[in-house]
């Protein structure tokens, strides 16, 4: 890890592919894509000269579920992503080097690939007490993050932690855990939220960046459009049951067995942007709704603080006791209704009294 800049060609050769085969591959690719006669040599040239993108992968306050998800990617296989597509120069969780040797790579990458490396951040920095709630290599993580962000080309914020704050930032957030985009404001940041994000979404983002040498198109909130522009609900295979008005009402009712819509069970699919209902999990085997449980909205901002995972309406804590919008609304409407009734009654009584008074005056 670290050392000299590797090109794709050197990786290909290291994997035992001959130069002859390499050129065959290039011409075959050019032909099958219907490109002109010069294309084959251009492809070869690009692969021979283009350096693999160096990636520094850091861990703040997190649970490593993003890494766990990432290493299970099937398309592409994580082996290809890590060993061929990118040059993963630093990842303190899975790298062989340790201690000073490991930390030296950070300095080396900063110096050698200034403005060219990708900083992938899993987790987030806690800012309270000078950042002492997450010490990494003897220093607060927030310092390490700022240092490495300074010379990075772009930052990938892996998971709900780095994107939104996640559980450590849930109220009352004692460590003041803060998402990356609130700490680093001068670099392009791609948010890849989820707890964890889908493996193929993670490797998909990496593949896009290494293939095109630029960041994918992002939505208003900084998430790659290709994976986060639609809600789970929009592509859910149970959607026909929602439109028909067929809902699971209890976990063990007939509707649950028939696989009806989980809307009434608090499924957050209608408010959650992610690719679960299309890409699915574990190599496309299933996803939460398919296995009979509603979506908990793990890729959404502050999903821990939106009340129960099993309520359709959000609890609103500001009212002292936890109430949802309907309960608050009904109490308000009831109170106003009662006030109106009382006011009308008083009006009627007053009016009668005045009339009698007037009548007395006139007679």
């Amino acid at each position: 890890m670290g050392a000299a800049t590797e090109t794709f060609y050197s990786v290909i050769r290291r994997q035992g592919i001959t130069r002859r085969c390499f050129h065959k591959f290039c011409s075959l690719t050019a032909t099958s894509l219907g490109l002109g006669p010069l294309a084959a040599s251009r492809i070869a040239n690009a692969l021979e000269t283009k350096p693999r993108v160096p990636v520094i992968w850091m861990h703040g306050l997190e649970c490593t579920c993003c890494s766990e998800s990432f290493i299970r990617s099937a398309h592409p296989l994580v082996k290809d992503a890590v060993l061929s597509m990118i040059s993963l120069d630093y990842d303190d969780t899975i790298m062989a080097a340790a201690g000073h040797q490991a930390e030296a790579i950070l300095e080396e990458t900063r110096a050698k690939h200034k403005g060219q490396y990708i900083l992938a951040v899993e987790g987030n920095p806690p800012l309270n007490e000078g950042g002492m709630f997450c010490i990494d290599g003897g220093k607060p993580f927030v310092e390490k993050l700022k240092m490495m962000a300074e010379d990075a080309m772009a930052i990938i914020a892996w998971g709900a932690c780095a994107s939104w704050g996640c559980v450590q930032a849930a109220k009352p957030n004692p460590t003041q855990a803060t998402p990356i985009d609130k700490v680093i404001t001068n670099k392009p940041i791609i948010k890849v939220p989820g707890c964890p994000p889908i493996a193929e979404v993670m490797t998909g983002v990496v593949t896009f960046i290494t293939t095109f040498g630029k960041l994918p198109e992002l939505d208003r909130q900084g998430r790659p459009k290709m994976f986060y522009s639609q809600r789970i609900h929009d592509k859910c295979y149970r959607r026909p049951h929602f439109d028909a008005g067929q809902f699971v009402e209890e976990w063990d009712d007939e509707a649950a067995r028939k696989g009806y819509c989980l809307y009434k069970m608090g499924c957050k699919g209608p408010t959650t942007y992610n690719a679960c209902s299309t890409v699915r999990w574990n190599g496309g085997v299933s996803f939460p709704i398919q296995s009979g449980h509603g979506c908990i909205g793990c890729s959404e901002d502050g999903f821990w603080d939106k009340g129960s995972f099993y309520d359709r309406l959000t609890n609103i804590k500001q009212f002292g006791i936890e109430k949802n919008a309907d309960q608050i609304g009904m109490v308000a409407a009831g109170a106003v209704g009662a006030a109106v009734a009382v006011h009308a009654a008083v009006t009627a009584v007053k009016r009668l009294a005045t009339k009698r008074e007037d009548a007395d005056h006139n007679s």
Binding site: H241, F247, R312, T314, A325, D326, I328, V340, T354
Partner: protein, 247 residues
């Protein structure tokens, strides 16, 4: 306040002698003023109807009806409810916009619900008077050609602001289904910059509905009450456009 009409004495004179009815008793001629122009009235009733549809369907979207039996392809209950909600929402938006445009070309009463004259001392004095009237501290209500100052304040906040909020959050939520390349998202997607989690937008939209329920209750109650108590027509004015003074 320019809209305040001096108690009836000066309006009464000879009008009373205009006509006699069949039983030979003299009818009372009543001065009336044209207040609500046709577009204002049409907008009022279309909006009222849309809001009722929106409230009922909106509530049913948040708390759906019991599960229906049979094939999913045979039923479209939620689909129809949502369609009615979206359709009524678009109608409301169009007529709300029309109403705003009319404020520019209509008479000065048509502008009343779009502002509160904060800077006018007289306005606040009359608000206080109206509050005292509703608190049973005044014997005689003042007469107003358009909305009384308290009503103007209530209309501006309870109707104009709340409905604008509902339209904006409503289109933002609608844009979620239309996709991020839709004009709805381009125009209203900024709502999600304020509340990144659409669940919060849903909650606020829901609370907005209840705020409008409260507004509607108070609106209807005061309209009926003033129609009876303040000796000027209120309810029929929104049909004919004429405000009659009955003293």
């Amino acid at each position: 306040m320019m809209d305040a009409v001096a108690p009836a004495s000066d309006a009464r004179p000879d009008l009373a002698a205009i006509a006699a009815d069949a039983s030979g008793e003299r009818a009372v001629g009543r001065p009336s003023v044209y207040v609500y122009e046709a577009p204002v009235r049409i907008c009022h009733w279309v909006n009222a109807f849309s809001i009722i549809v929106l409230m009922v369907t909106g509530y049913l979207i948040g708390t759906p009806l019991p599960t229906v039996a049979g094939e999913a392809s045979d039923n479209f209950v939620m689909g129809y409810i949502r369609f009615a909600h979206f359709a009524a929402g678009q109608v409301l938006a169009v007529f709300f916009l029309t109403r705003i445009l009319w404020a520019f070309v209509g008479n000065h009463h048509s502008r009343q619900i779009f502002y509160i004259p904060f800077h006018r001392k007289q306005f606040w004095k009359e608000v206080l008077h109206e509050i005292r009237w509703y608190a049973f501290l005044e014997r005689e209500p003042k007469m107003h050609v358009g909305h009384n100052p308290l009503a103007q304040t209530a209309m501006f906040t309870g109707f104009t602001l709340f409905v604008a909020f509902m339209i904006v959050t409503g289109f933002a939520l609608y844009s979620e289904g239309q996709g991020i390349d839709s004009w709805q998202h381009k125009l209203f997607g900024w709502v999600f910059a304020i509340w990144p989690n659409s669940q919060d937008v849903h909650t606020w939209h829901h609370l907005g509905m209840w705020a409008l329920v409260v507004f509607v209750m108070v609106h209807i109650y005061t309209a009926i009450r003033e129609d009876i108590m303040s000796r000027q027509s209120i309810i029929s004015s929104m049909i004919s456009g004429e405000r009659q003074f009955r003293d």
